[in-house]
């Protein structure tokens, strides 16, 4: 683009130089026309310069015109106006120039015609004739003198002397006697005449023979005129060998000078007449060249003028378009000091301010973006869930913890209105529906929210605060945490504490009670009658049995409260299952058990005693569940699983008993909860605790048709952190 502008500038300078040269050359031509020699010398190079200028201008006009027409065809902004202006200027200049050219050529031709007026030519011819007639007298006089001198020549002796005497007396420049063969017999020439002796030609001699004389007017190179006369010498002609006398006389210098002047004028006029047509052509050509030069200059000037006038408007249009497209890095060059220039300056000022405002906005946006990124990083790192709503209750932010807690897809709900979310029936919608009602009434609150799941409940501690954003719009902030596990852990700890105390407090008086009952029976057995003894025995047995039961219960409490120290070793779960099931298979239970064991399950790491305890509890529960079932069946299966490159063993114990009721399903693993008439309600709680100690997990569910299923998932290898 810059190179193109430089080239344009150079071209323009070259054109102006050429035009200046043309103008100067035309001026020089005008002034030189007073001096013909100078005119002739300058004319050709000047015409060359003007011709070159003409062709250069012609090419420029053609190129510019073509560009203009192309712009017009492409409907470029301003092209119509430019074309119109160029045509108007062109027409305005063509008409007067054509008129001037027409009249100028007419006047010029008429002027040249006047030079060659017929009267001038006649006058010059008459002057020539007059001069000749004036010289005729001198020619006749020379002839007369020559004839007389020829008569005086009677002897050939001392011919030169005779000729000298005669020449002196006749004032002739030269006297020459010669024969028919043009041999010189005698001669006398004036010493200072500077005359080149010229012999007559044979034709002239023949003419003398026929006419007795021959005269001739001759011009010398110095402009002098000579009269040459040739006459026969009758007195000296003998033996029929004729001799001739040639006399040369000079014309009177004054007359000679006038004759020369007339002759030169006549010749000059003749030359001009001969060159009349070429002169007319050449003047017309020069005039036409000048006119065309002026015309082309006018057209080119009008193209450039209209271009310069419209260019700022085009630039403004382009600038406006660029600004509309968001390009504010634009500056339109100054366009003078007129109204368009002021408009251009105003536009530039406006764009500058817009750019400045955009830069500021961009900086602010960057800061906000940075802050947002920082906030998101912080929110991502938080274990608490955060949900931000705008003043219209559209979700503007959900942090990763929130999506985990509420099991929600973050991207799916960003921008959604909470009212649309409430319509769905999942964990997230429950949470939103329970919080929205509170949001509408209080600006700040903190509450525990319970969310119901199919097989469990989730306890969420939620805080709400309405804040003001940087744009002074309301920002609704919900911060929440899943405290279900925390509460359960707290509950379990409390239960464990209670169990520990109960075990301690119950177990202590049991032994004295049992001993006391046995001592009572022993002391009074011999003293009582049979009936009384039977009563005492039954009473003491009852006491002893209940004490045993209470001890078992206290031991169970102790077991639950105890933090076992696990002894990990390699064990074969399938083998342990076979052994455990064989212990339960007695006469009464034969045929109940069905084992579906996965051969892929390989020896795993675990505490054998605890695993056996788990199996024992699960099998006991299963056997208890099928007591009053017509076709009891217990299916025990194992399966090897792989999750995230870790191997797990899944153990399922499935019965076809009555299954869990809804409450039992939720509270199956809570201590002191049981559906059985007997039992401490600690079996599954202990199982869950032991499974957790092995970094596994347990879930309870009802079978689709009948019965319950307890599934335990255990890692085949201990975690390093656990080990440490």
């Amino acid at each position: 683009m810059a190179t193109f502008q430089i080239k344009q500038k150079i071209t323009k300078r070259f054109i102006f130089l050429l035009l200046g040269l043309s103008a100067f050359s035309l001026l020089a031509l005008m002034f030189a026309s007073d001096n013909p020699e100078e005119f002739n010398r300058l004319q050709t190079p000047i015409l060359m310069v003007n011709t070159v200028s003409f062709f250069v201008l012609f090419v420029l006009v053609a190129v510019s015109g073509r560009q203009l027409v192309n712009d017009y065809k492409k409907n470029k902004l301003g092209a119509k106006l430019r074309l119109k202006m160029t045509l108007v200027f062109g027409m305005l200049s063509v008409i007067p120039i054509a008129v001037v050219f027409f009249f100028a050529t007419n006047f010029m031709n008429k002027g040249i015609d006047v030079w060659f007026d017929a009267e001038v030519e006649t006058g010059l011819t008459n002057a020539l004739m007059l001069g000749r007639s004036a010289l005729d007298e001198q020619i006749q006089e020379g002839l007369f003198k020559s004839t007389n001198m020829s008569l005086k020549l009677t002897s050939i002796e001392e011919i030169d002397q005779q000729l000298h005497t005669l020449r002196e007396s006749s004032l002739a420049l030269e006297l020459l006697v010669l024969n028919r063969e043009l041999q010189i017999i005698g001669q006398s020439t004036q010493t200072l005449s500077g005359l080149n002796p010229r012999l007559p030609t044979k034709a002239e001699i023949i003419q003398v023979d026929s006419k007795q004389s021959w005269t001739n007017l001759d011009a010398s190179s110095e402009g002098a005129y000579l009269i040459r006369v040739l006459v026969p010498i009758l007195g000296l002609s003998s033996n029929e060998i004729p001799l001739y006398l040639q006399s040369i006389f000079s014309v009177d210098p004054a007359l000679s000078m006038m004759a020369e002047s007339v002759e030169q004028t006549y010749a000059k006029y003749g030359r001009l007449t001969f060159l009349r047509i070429p002169l007319q052509y050449s003047y017309m050509f020069t005039l036409a060249l000048v006119v065309l030069l002026a015309l082309l200059l006018t057209i080119y000037g009008s193209i450039e003028f209209s271009k310069n006038l419209v260019e700022p408007i085009e630039s403004l249009e382009e600038g406006t378009r660029s600004v509309a497209e968001g390009d504010l890095d634009i500056h339109i060059p100054r366009a003078g000091k007129d109204e368009i220039g002021i408009l251009v300056n105003s536009f530039n000022e406006m764009v500058k301010k817009l750019a400045s405002a955009q830069t500021e906005a961009s900086e602010s946006r960057k800061i906000i973006e940075h802050e947002r990124t920082t906030l998101q990083a912080i929110l991502s790192g938080l274990s608490a869930g955060v949900i931000v709503l705008d003043e219209r209750q559209n979700i503007s932010l959900i942090n990763p913890a929130a999506s985990v807690i509420l099991n929600v897809d973050t991207e799916q709900h960003i921008g959604c209105n909470v009212k649309n979310i409430i319509k769905t029936n999942d964990l997230f919608s429950q949470f939103i529906s329970k919080t929205v009602s509170k949001i509408e009434h209080n600006k700040t609150w903190r509450e525990k929210i319970t969310l119901d799941l199919a097989d469990s409940t989730r306890e969420i501690m939620c805080s709400y605060k309405e804040l003001l954003s940087s744009t002074n719009s309301a920002m609704l902030l919900l911060v929440f945490e899943d405290i279900s596990d925390f509460l359960k852990a707290q509950q379990e700890a409390a239960w464990s504490d209670v169990a520990k105390h109960m075990a301690h407090e119950i177990k202590n008086p049991l032994t004295p009670i049992q001993l006391s009952a046995e001592r009572l029976r022993k002391r009074y057995a011999s003293m009582l009658k049979a009936d009384d003894l039977d009563f005492l025995s039954k009473a003491t047995n009852t006491i002893i049995n209940q004490v045993e039961l209470m001890r078992d219960m206290a031991n169970a409490f102790g077991e639950f409260a105890k933090d076992p120290e696990l002894q990990f070793e390699k064990l074969d779960l399938n083998q342990l299952l076979n052994e455990a099931v064989s212990l339960f298979e007695d006469e009464k239970n034969t045929g109940y058990f069905s084992l579906v064991l996965d051969n892929k399950v390989k020896p795993m790491e675990g505490d054998v005693k605890r695993i056996l305890q788990i199996l024992n509890n699960l099998l006991t529960n299963a056997v208890d569940a099928i007591v009053d079932v017509q076709k009891p069946k217990i299916t025990i299966s194992t399966k090897l699983l792989t999750r995230q490159d870790r191997a797990f063993v899944e153990l399922s114990v499935m019965d076809n008993g009555h299954g869990f009721n809804k409450k039992a399903l939720r509270s199956a693993f809570e201590p002191y909860f049981t559906q059985k008439t007997k039992g401490t309600g600690l079996g599954l709680a202990i199982v869950k605790k032991l499974v957790s100690e092995h970094n596994g997990w347990i879930r309870a569910q009802n079978n689709p048709n009948q019965g319950a299923c307890l599934t335990i998932t255990l890692p085949t290898q201990r975690e390093q952190t656990t080990h440490s």
Binding site: L128, S220, E263, G270, F274
Partner: protein
């Protein structure tokens, strides 16, 4: 499109050839070199030259209108060397002017080399005398080697005085009064 352009080009070439051919036929040459020959007399080589002048109406009209014609004869003596570059031994020119004097009604021929002026009553005698040049000294015998070969080249030109170059330039399409003959040559000696 391309065929049309080629056709137009073809027509233009044919037109140019026809134009050049016809112009060479229609316009008779005002000067024509007929022949030249050289001979040795007393250590100097002379040449006899025959030139044919045939002035047409335009020339006669120009001459009688007062225009002066310059007639130049340009000689060139060259040592012809087989298989090598020819060597120029010398060059000389003989210049004449011919004009018509309306007062004396005679044609004057001026030899500008010698300054000798001769007038003739008619154009025919003038051109006849001008066309016969006898014993024109060309070269001194001492300047050449008799064992080598020499050629004399002659060309003639005629030019109208007083017609400015710019008029000739601007009326380029009209008949020009200037003419240059082709070169003729003859051996300096046999």
């Amino acid at each position: 499109m391309k065929n049309n352009i080629n056709k137009i080009k073809g027509y233009m070439v044919v037109a140019l050839v026809v134009f050049l051919f016809t112009t060479s036929i229609v316009y008779a040459q005002p000067v024509k070199l007929i022949k030249g020959e050289s001979f040795l007399i007393e250590g100097v080589y002379y040449s006899d030259i025959n030139i044919e002048f045939s002035f047409d109406r335009a020339y006669l009209q120009a001459l009688n209108s007062g225009l002066v014609f310059d007639i130049d004869l340009d000689f060139l003596i060259v040592n012809i060397k087989p298989w090598r570059v020819d060597q120029e031994i010398g060059q000389l020119s003989q210049n004449y002017t011919i004009k018509y004097n309306a007062f004396t009604q005679r044609y004057t021929v001026l030899n500008t080399n010698t300054g000798r002026e001769t007038s003739y009553p008619t154009i025919e005698t003038t051109l006849s005398n001008l066309g016969t040049i006898n014993k024109f000294p060309v070269l001194d015998d001492s300047l050449i080697n008799i064992d080598e070969s020499y050629q004399v080249f002659l060309s003639a030109s005629i030019k109208a005085q007083g017609v400015p170059q710019w008029i000739k330039t601007l009326t380029f399409w009209r008949d020009s009064l200037d003419f240059q003959t082709e070169q003729i040559q003859w051996p300096l000696f046999k």
